[in-house]
């Protein structure tokens, strides 16, 4: 089959690789109809996630048709149309039982590696480095789905297009969870750093969950336009103004009640000296993150508010404003999304017409054009917000 393979920093190639086979009774094979490139893939593409190997198949957002099931998968049948959540979760362990699916204790065979870096290991993830299990990803014609009796959600409503349901695999639940954990009360003001797909779904979810005002922060006008479309009440271009000053002013001096980081470890800073400082440290591997957005989100958050980190971080950072966090009774919420627990409720919202997730899609490409898709999405050219590959 054809598959998008990581081939070193800033390069991916679509190569011929063996077709996947069932490896355990709880596996299924899915023939992929749609798969997308995620901001998390950029961290791999840009070489900031350790333990990548040349030839690793990328991709963790995918859907398609079940073409083979293992003996232990009784809830799926060949021919079913399914969306596959990006965390691989067994459904049996203590974490899965608590609904913390991205912390499944059994799906990451390389947990030992992750423990060395992080103390304890998260779940296995499709196409996301050896640290999260070394699973082949879904930017390919086919994928093997472990624990297929737990993860994939059947899409029985044929009137829903792939673009409408594909993002249940990751970015929609991710954005939703980022807001849900903030426990939004009527009258709350939410600020969202980053108007990429995760930020856009966080904005839409904040509106759905009853926020009074939702402020979007980014530097790309076309993305801020999308943020408006998603429901943002206010827009901030961080290259034009000082975000802390404007947020304070907008919120009557209080600061937002919830600050959401939908940027992650590759943030950009409008001040070239500050950006350069962290960029050099990151390049020299003195810190693994470029933490402008998270620092700012903490400093801006109103007293007693919640900082929700959806953006991905890998290791260590310096100048973390712990004093601001501690002295002002802030709450931090974070995690890889526990996608499984949002599949049904969010599909329901899509079916009810409360949201049409396809609004984030800017490009459809053939699988063989994945390298072009990565370049566009990385450099935010051609008004790119989300690339969907159709194998």
């Amino acid at each position: 089959m054809r598959a998008t393979c990581w081939s070193g920093r800033n390069t991916v190639q679509v190569e011929n690789v063996p077709d996947p086979k069932i490896l355990t009774d709880r596996d299924a094979i899915v023939k992929i109809s749609s798969t997308s490139i995620c901001g998390s893939d950029l961290h791999l593409y840009d070489g900031y996630v350790p333990s990548m190997t040349k030839g690793d198949i990328l991709g963790h957002e995918f859907m398609g048709e079940v073409v083979e099931v293992g003996k232990g998968v009784s809830n799926l049948q060949v021919g079913d149309r399914v969306v596959v959540p990006f965390p691989i979760s067994c459904g049996n362990c203590n974490m899965c039982a608590k609904g913390l699916f991205s912390l499944c204790e059994n799906s990451n065979p390389n947990a030992g590696m992750a423990e060395k870096l992080w103390g304890h290991a998260p779940c296995g993830i499709f196409g996301y480095s050896a640290l999260t299990g070394g699973y082949a990803g879904g930017q390919a014609e086919y994928a093997r789905v472990p624990f297929a009796d737990v993860g994939p959600i059947k899409i029985e409503n044929d009137s829903l297009t792939d673009d409408q349901v594909l993002f249940l695999s990751d970015v929609f639940p991710t954005g939703y969870m980022a807001v849900e954990v903030c426990d939004i009360k009527p009258g709350d003001v939410v600020a969202v750093w980053g108007a990429g797909p995760v930020g856009l779904f966080a904005i839409a979810s904040a509106i759905m969950l009853g926020a009074e005002r939702v402020i979007a922060i980014d530097r790309f006008d076309y993305r801020l336009d999308k943020a408006r479309e998603a429901g943002a009440t206010d827009l901030i271009d961080y290259e034009q103004v000082s975000v802390p000053v404007v947020l304070k002013e907008m919120t009557g001096g209080r600061g937002p009640d919830a600050c959401i980081d939908a940027v992650g470890l590759e943030a950009h800073h409008s001040h070239p000296v500050i950006h350069g400082y962290d960029r050099v440290k990151q390049a020299a591997r003195l810190e693994t993150e470029r933490p402008h957005a998270i620092r700012e989100a903490i400093m801006c958050c109103g007293n007693g508010g919640t900082v929700s980190i959806a953006g991905v971080y890998g290791g260590f950072m310096d100048k973390f404003p712990i004093g601001s966090l501690m002295n002002r009774s802030l709450t931090v919420k974070t995690g890889q999304a526990h996608v499984h627990r949002y599949l049904r409720p969010l599909l329901q919202r899509i079916e009810n017409g409360e949201i049409d997730p396809s609004f984030v899609v800017s490009h459809h490409l053939a699988l063989d054009d994945a390298p072009k898709g990565y370049e566009m999405f990385k450099h935010k050219t051609d008004n790119c917000t989300k690339v969907v590959l159709n194998p």
Partner: protein, 286 residues
């Protein structure tokens, strides 16, 4: 996996008795050795033997031997070896006392008591040594007494010592049963239980069962060999680590989770050598 609520009752308790006894006797050595090394003349008076330079020298020597026994059993956890050398030591002590009876007796009453005590200690040592040897099949180095993580934080032991625990979301009896049935290659589960190197306890808060392993498998090639093997992810302790992860996954999920880069499940060797294999489906000729 079949389960039955009563399986746990029929389960033999791990042979912690001899291990505990060995530790008690190990400490006892120093209790006895202290007066011999620090007040040998008073000690001789107490057991009814004449004090002269020869008997004092012997007393000092035996005292030192007692401290060495404590080090062997307690500090190095070489219980089996420690117990057998105590048996030899007891025989020597009895011979010394009998010789004293003949030539250097000061108080026959006291000497009789001393001889009786040595006989009793000899019996206890012999019993413990035999029990440990039986339990360990005689060919495995001593494990620890597993008095519990967080109770004793001993970190001693050789390069292959593994002290590791997992929580399995199932009742104790099922976990114990599965532990027996799982195909371990790193150790024999029955032996591990018999010497008390594995413990099963209830996890707090309805989270199932904690499995604690504190085991020191033999290190082929000594500590240098073990360190070299570790670099390749091949040392015996890494194997135990991997197999315990696979065991947990298998018991909880019914399968051993496999990824394209770790097709056999958790594998330290793979993790260290992961650069060799990309995350791609494994071809037919692989």
């Amino acid at each position: 996996m079949e389960s039955s609520a009563s399986a746990g009752d029929a389960w033999p308790r791990p042979a912690v008795g001899p291990v505990r006894l060995a530790d008690a006797l190990g400490w006892g050595s120093s209790v006895l050795g202290a007066p011999m090394t620090f007040a040998p003349r008073r000690f001789l008076r107490a057991i009814g033997v004449q004090e002269d330079s020869k008997t004092v020298a012997w007393t000092l020597g035996v005292g030192v031997r007692e401290h060495i026994a404590t080090l062997t059993v307690i500090a190095n956890r070489q219980r089996r070896i420690g117990m057998w050398s105590r048996v030899a030591g007891d025989t020597m002590d009895a011979a010394l006392l009998l010789a004293a009876y003949k030539h250097k007796c000061a108080d026959p009453g006291r000497l009789n008591i001393a001889l009786g005590l040595v006989g009793g200690i000899f019996a206890a040592d012999l019993y413990t040594a035999v029990a440990l040897t039986r339990a360990e099949g005689g060919d495995i180095s001593d494990g620890s007494g597993s008095t519990g993580v967080g109770v004793d934080h001993d970190t001693g032991g050789g390069p292959t010592r593994v002290k590791i625990a997992v929580t399995i979301r199932l009742p104790q009896d099922e976990v114990r049963k599965a532990f027996r049935q799982f195909e371990w290659s790193a150790f024999d589960p029955a032996t591990l239980e018999a010497v008390g190197d594995v413990r099963f306890t209830k996890a707090p808060g309805e989270r199932g069962t904690e499995v604690h392993i504190d085991h020191e498998p033999p290190a082929p090639g000594g500590s240098i060999g073990a360190t070299a093997a570790k670099l390749l992810g091949q040392s015996p302790d890494q194997k135990i680590n991997d197999e315990l992860r696979r065991f947990k996954a298998f018991v909880e999920t019914g399968v051993i989770p496999r990824s394209e880069t770790s097709p056999e499940g958790a594998s330290s060797a793979r993790q260290i050598m992961h650069k060799r294999q990309p995350a791609q489906p494994i071809g037919d000729n692989a």
